[in-house]
Structures are given as C-alpha cells and as structure tokens.
Symmetry: C2
Subunit: 506 residues, 2 copies
C-alpha cells in the first residue's frame, strides 16, 4: 500500500488504471494554502523580449504571424527587431501573408536573422525571393493548406505571435474593437491551436473576462501590451475597390450572367467572390439579379466586404461566414450581427477537417494573373515571372465550388492573360469551369452540363484557344521571361502535394 497526499492508503495497482499516480498534495506550505499551484504566474509581460525568452526561443525556430492587419501591421516588424536584438539567427517565418509594409523582413534576411519563409509573400518580399535572396524556397500554401500543414505537423510552429486588437489578462483575444480592430481573426486560430507557445501582442488590454473574443485563453501563453499594433488607415486594404473600368464592368456583368444561367442560381445558393475589382463588381451584378429573380441565397463566405454586409441586411443572403473582414463596415457588422459569423481557416477550407465551408460553395468568382488553355490558373507569379502574390483561398474555393468562374481581361499591360503555358500553376484546370473575358466566355469542355445550360442564353461562348489567339493577335506572342536553375518558391496544393515550383528570375 502507498499513502497519498491526503493520507489515504492506495494499492500499488488497480485493475483498469493503467498508470497509478498517488495524489501528492498541491500544498506549497505558504499562507495561501495549497492552491498556489493552481494559480499560474501572470501572463501579462512587460516586453516582447521577455515573452520570447520565456517561450525559450532558439536559433532556427519557426515563428508564425497572421495578416489580418494587412498593410497596417506593425507586429511582424516589431517582433523581428526584438529577435534581431536578442541575437537570434536562421529563423523561419510562417506568416499567413506578408505585405509591402513587411519589406523590413528583407533586412533581417540579409543579416541572417531570418533564413526562410513558409507563407504567402505579397509584393517586395516575393520580388526579393524571385531574385534569389533566400537560400531555401518560399513554401506557398493556400489558406486551407496552411492549417492542414500545421495539423499534420508538416509545418511545426514553435512560437506564434498574434497581433491582438484586444486581449484580456488571460489572453482572450478579440478582433472587433480597439483602435486596430480588424474584425475576423480567421487565419490566426490555427497558429493559436498548433504553435508550441503563443504570444498575444495588443494595444488594448481589456478587463477580464473579455465578453466577445475569437481566440480563447486556453491556447495563449503570454500577453504583451504595446503602444500600437497597427495603422488603422492601412488595415483596410486598397485591393477592395470595385472596378469602374468599363471593360472590366463588362466582364463582371458577363460573369453574373454565366452564374445566373449556370443552374446553381436557385434559392439557397452560396457564393464567394475574390477581393479583386472585377470579382467585387460581379457581386454587384449578382445582387441585382437576385433582387430581380427573387432569389434568396444561403451564405457568402471568405473575405467579407461592405457589399456582403448590405446583401445580408437586405435579406438576399442569410449568413456571412467571415474569415477576413475587408472594411470597417464588415468589422462593425461582425461585432453586432449574429448572422455574420467569424470562421477559422480550418472551418473555411481545411481538407484535414471533418468538412469545411468550401465544400458547400455553389459558386466562386476568382481572379487570375494567367490562365492556360487547360484552364490551369496562375495567381502567384506575374507575366514577368515575379512572385508577387500569395495563393489565398483560390485553389480551396475552386476545388470546393460547384461552379468556379475566373474573371480576367484578355490583356494586362499588353501581356496576354490567356496563354498556352502559365508560368506557374496555382489552381488546377480540372477545378475551373469557366473563364470570362471581355471577348467571350470559355467553358471547360469537360463541363458539358454547363455548356448546355449556357447555350442559347445570349452568352458569347468561345473556345479558350480562340481567346488565346485573340490576345496574341493584339500583342504578339510574348517572350518568356528568363529563369535560372534555382527554385525560389514551391506552390503546394491544398492537400500538401507540390503543384508547381517557381524558379529564380534572371
């Protein structure tokens, strides 16, 4: 028999108890009786440096960030400066995305603080990657693919640094209020769940317990109050202007007509539109058509805008599923309307979850930097071969939606958008159904049902090879950019397989 911490005699083993540990008592002997052990040390720390130290940061570790503050984010640069000052080397960054404001990262790459990036890189960091700055390729994952990789352990995050518009002293993190309010924190859930250590950085420490929060205290190790985490004016991205260009409006209206006639445009239909100007304009035309036809939709998913909020409030859709709030109207709506729901990237698009939202999508309206004649879509590299864009939810929604419509002008800056061979394949053609341009709509020939539905509806149906020829007639056949041998980017498909690689631009 063993005598335990409350004086009870226990046998050495008990049937059905695999590993018997006797209660040891949690008394520490001080005046606060035994429960000192049950009360952990305060989570609120004086500095980010202290939080990294307590998280036992080491050279070579992987540090993650979310991008909900977009180009207004101050936290990535702040954290890297602290890590550089602490003398850290060879870190791997795992941001959900980086923006132009994060060009400071390049300085830390050159000095050896940062060695590699696994995550989306928009703008200057991508350009530097294309030019061969990194010795390891950037691993590009979709929103769903990033969570999947964390869940499977392919992407192991040591420390997640979470920009928190609000946090309480136990680390309940919210996105809808405070000076740096960004709305949904959809991409940050996976970081909180899978990282070994989680640091919330906030400029708005609120009273415990926070009443509406996104990420719970159960996942957060430390809370670091700082002066500012974001520049409010730049948190709302500039990508979200609905186009006013007449040619692009034609494309948008054509896309709406395709959807209207496709067979999915019935009561309960669900929709996601990308953040590009044409996609946003297409939503406007769909809105008009829903009103006219008296269609009552189900949900809008993805990045949420003022227009989505208006459609919800007008009763055209009954739910918004918000992984990213693009403007202040969306942030305000998320805070007040229970039919406007925050969703995590896993809920949105993770193939390793037991069912995600994109599987239930009827239609996705998406952009492209290139489309090839097999309907494969490039969204990562520009025609000049430069890696300038992350994958976002493009391949996720295309795979899930019953109808994936790509909207693109035939030319951009005298470069054809429809080509024989895209520089990069991001989204496979077998998940793309129609390509809508100002010169006609090409339907994937494998979608005979869609072709039938669109036939005789006044939609100018064309062969995608004809679109390619039309474009080339206007510009000539463009010369391929010159690439070196070094792989600077790996485009992972949402299931973790490699769909393409990106070579150094010479």
């Amino acid at each position: 028999m063993i005598r335990n911490g409350v004086g009870r005699e226990l046998p050495e083993s008990i049937p059905g108890v695999a590993c018997l540990r006797p209660y040891s008592g949690n008394a520490t002997g001080d005046s606060d009786v035994g429960r000192t052990a049950a009360r952990r040390e305060p989570k609120v720390l004086a500095s980010l440096e202290e939080a990294f130290r307590r998280s036992e940061v080491e050279d070579g570790m992987t540090i993650s960030f979310h991008h909900h503050l977009r180009d207004g984010d101050l936290v990535v640069n702040m954290a890297l400066d602290v890590l550089a000052n602490m003398g850290l080397r060879d870190l791997v960054l795992a941001p959900s995305a980086l923006f132009p404001v994060h060009k400071e990262v390049l300085r830390h790459v050159r000095s050896g603080v940062v060695r590699a990036i696994q995550g989306s890189v928009n703008g200057p960091v991508g350009k530097a990657a294309s030019e061969g700055l990194f010795d390891l390729p950037v691993i590009l994952r979709s929103h769903g693919g990033r969570v999947r990789a964390m869940q499977t352990g392919e992407l192991r995050v040591d420390i997640a640094v979470i920009a928190a518009p609000t946090a309480d002293s136990m680390g309940n993190i919210g996105g809808v209020s405070g000076p740096s309010a960004c709305g949904s924190l959809g991409y940050a859930f996976s970081d909180a769940q899978y990282a070994r250590r989680v640091i919330a950085v906030t400029d708005t420490l609120i009273e415990y317990p926070a009443t509406a929060f996104s990420i719970p205290q159960t996942l957060v190790d430390w809370v670091v109050p700082v002066e500012r985490i974001g520049d409010p004016g730049r948190i709302v991205s500039g990508t979200l202007r609905v186009t006013r260009d007449p040619l692009r409006l034609i494309i948008a209206e054509q896309a709406a007509r395709v959807i209207e006639q496709s067979g999915v445009f019935v009561d309960g239909f669900s929709m996601q539109a990308g953040a590009g100007g044409i996609s946003l304009a297409a939503s406007t035309f769909i809105r008009e058509r829903m009103r006219r036809a008296g269609i009552q939709g189900g949900f809008i998913s993805g990045g949420i805008t003022e227009q989505s909020v208006e459609m919800l409030e007008e009763g055209l859709f009954h739910t918004l599923l918000d992984v990213q709030s693009f403007d202040t109207a969306a942030v305000a709506s998320l805070a007040r309307n229970r039919s406007h729901m925050e969703m995590s990237a896993s809920f949105y698009a993770n193939t390793a979850a037991k069912g995600c939202v994109v599987e239930r999508l009827d239609t996705a309206i998406l952009g492209a930097t290139q489309v090839d004649t097999n309907f494969n879509v490039n969204v990562n590299t520009e025609s000049d071969g430069m890696l300038l864009h992350g994958t976002g939810g493009h391949m996720d929604t295309a795979a899930g939606a019953k109808l994936t419509v790509i909207v693109t002008p035939l030319l951009r800056g005298r470069m054809p958008m429809i080509v024989d061979r895209a520089i990069t394949v991001t989204t496979p053609g077998d998940t793309v159904d129609a390509v809508v341009t100002e010169r006609g709509v090409a339907v994937n020939p494998r979608r005979k049902d869609l072709l039938e539905n669109l036939n005789g509806k006044g939609i100018p149906l064309v062969d995608i090879h004809d679109l390619k020829r039309l474009a080339e007639e206007m510009t000539g056949v463009p010369r391929d950019p010159l690439f070196g041998e070094k792989i600077v980017g790996v485009v992972e498909y949402r299931d973790g397989s490699v769909i393409d690689v990106i070579y150094q631009r010479l």
Copy 2:
C-alpha cells in the same frame, strides 16, 4: 524529374521540402470535373446504427456522452440499445455524467454489452457500482480532469455520441434552441475535439449553415436525425430549488457574511456557487449584500441559473461564463445576451489548458456529503458508503478559488456531516478555507489571514473538532458502513493522480 498531375516537371527533391509529393490531380473523370474529391459524402445518415458502422465500432471501444440533457436525456439509452442490437460487447462508457434515467445502463452491463464506466455516475448506476456490479472500477473525474485526461490520452474516446438540440447537415451543433434546448454544451466540446469519430444525434435538423452554434462541423463526422433526443420537462434538473428550510437559510446567510468579510468582497469579485439548495440560497444573500454595499462584480462561472441571469441583467456582475445552463431562463439568456457566454470544460477548469477560469475565481460556495477535521471534503459517497454522486467541478473550483466555502448542515438524516475521517476524499482540505454550518463557522487554521478578517465581525468562529463533537453529541458516534476488499471506484484528482478509492459496500 517527375511530371505531376498538371504536367509540371518537378525535381526529385527540393531543399527545405522534407517529403515531396507531386500533385496527382484530383480528377475522377466524371462529369462533375475534378472536384468530386473535394466534396465529401453526406454526413446525414438514416440511423444511429449506420453511424456506428461507418465509425467502425468494435468490441471494447470507449463511447462518450455528455450530460447536458440531464435526467431528460434519451440518447445514452438509445445508443446502448442500438449497440446491443448490433452485438457489441465489453464497451467502456465515458459519460460526463449519468442520471437516474440511465439506470437502463445496468441492463447492458449485466448482458455484457457494457464492461466499465469512466465518468460521473449519479444515483442508480453508482449504487450498482457500489454493490460490485462492475468488474472494473468506475473512474471518477472532475469536469476539468475529464478534459485533461482526454488531452493527455489517458482517456481515449473512440466514438463520441453527442446529443444535439440542433444540428445542420454538416454537423454544426447548437444547444440554445429546439424542443430539447439545454443551453451550454460546455462538457461536449472535449468529446468532439478528442474522439476519433463524432456522431451528432439531433431531433432538430436546421438549415446550413447554423448561425449560432457551439461545436463546429470541422469536428463532426456524422449527423443522425431522430424523433426525440430529450424530455424537456426533465432537462431542467430538480437539484436547483433554492432551499426554504430555515436551518439551511441560516447556513446560507452565514456563508454570505463570511464572504462579505473575507477580503475578496470588492469590486470585480468573481463567484461560483454549486447547484445545491444552500449554495443557491447563499447567492441570494450575496446579491442583497452586493446591492447594499454597491459592489460591482466581475464574472459568475459554472452552472448558470435564473438567479445568475438576474444578477447579470441587474448589473451586479458583468459576465456569466456558462458551462451548464440549469434552467430555461439561463438557456434563453445564453441565446440572447453576449455577456452570457458559453464556455467549454477546458476553458472552465482544465489544468492542462494554458489557463482556465477557476484560476481566476475569488470565491466558490460548495456543498459536501462529508467534511473531515482536516477540511477534506467528500462529495462522491454518502454516509452509508454508497457512491451516489459525481465529482463535478468541486475539486476544480476549490483549487482555483481564493476563498472556498463549504456549506453543510451539521447533520443529515441523523448522520453527522463533520467527521474524523470521511469515507471518501474528493477535494483535499488544503484547498478548503471555511466550513459553514448552522452551529458555527470553522476556518482552516492555515488561513490565518482569513481568521483575522473574520474575527470580531459577529461570525461565530469555531474549531472544526468542536463541530464534529457537537454533531456526535446529537447522534452518537456513527458506525462505519461495512466495505469489502474490491475497489469499485477510483477518485482521480484534477491532475490525474488518485486521491482516493471507493470499496464495495457489503
């Protein structure tokens, strides 16, 4: 070089990519183009039997249930009948608790369908365990301890069966509406998160996507619609009547005075009261004292009642943290008031989480079936040695709270409640600060600070040994019940260690 599913040439290996899998294409060749693979088979199944079959149920597996429908639950019995009909044997049940309605379990134990129970057993199942029905002991865990054991893998659940007041076709489960509405689903979150397979059983299938839900589709495998999951009249438990017994009211008022004078009764103070009649009455007296003193509290946690809701709405507390909604007023409030928040058992009380609510509790007012002169508390067995009660959050809140007050009459049914040696130790005395009876208040001598605060405040302070003597003077020294050698119950402390064992009652 390898050619992948979109015809891209990839090298055999890429620096920085541990395990290169080329994209294989997700085309299935049918007319629905490639994305059939991205759309999973429907989750809604015709029967619980089919759900068990698809979950690959086998003899000896562990099946979990939650107890939010309390004595009105129809799902445990329904599931066991199905499993019995399927010929399953030797199952382990892992309910968060069982109630009198679940006495049907005993039939399945006798026939060999069920072999053991890991979970709380209230009433008839506990009594049968005490009488030696099971060949393995019942493993009793606290609300926090149960999640911890799932998180560490000490309790591995093969299939969770979740009674779902509402569910949509993808398995988003809600508790606040439908004919079997029970409010919070706090105890079911861990089952959904850690079980290998998760089956939602619902009598109210709602349109996708559910707009307010507790458990997300990402964790749910199957949805089974059935006629009824609960008996609404018995979902609200009978344990929740505030006492009217004058002697018990004296104890309740005394407990309120102890709290008032203890030092924790200041603005922002947080509180949890157990579901017993005296604890509930103590809340009423605290409410009056808060009004009188103009104290503005922080949160009330745990099981939420109409009284908690009124205190929230009156502005006496600013948040309710609800792991279990005890009455219809609590259910309605949870549905409408954002300051009334659902919390998971992990958020509430899990020591393996990165911080839980009980750590922030100022005071807990709890019941007992026995208290010993070392302040150890029994809540599992009655004076006759019968295992009739689960542990609940007793040991969790006692450990976390700055001030743990036990309320108990000196006698119940001519049995003394203060004894030299409790039959079972559930909650260790070093986490208990004061025992309040109708004949005086015994303060744990290690809490000199509390003794000082209470001195001279008109509170009748007594030595706990005197309380024991007083009780024995009234009843005589009771004879210990007769126990056999067989261990029928194991009381786990919240950290997974064994604080006591329960022997067979002869």
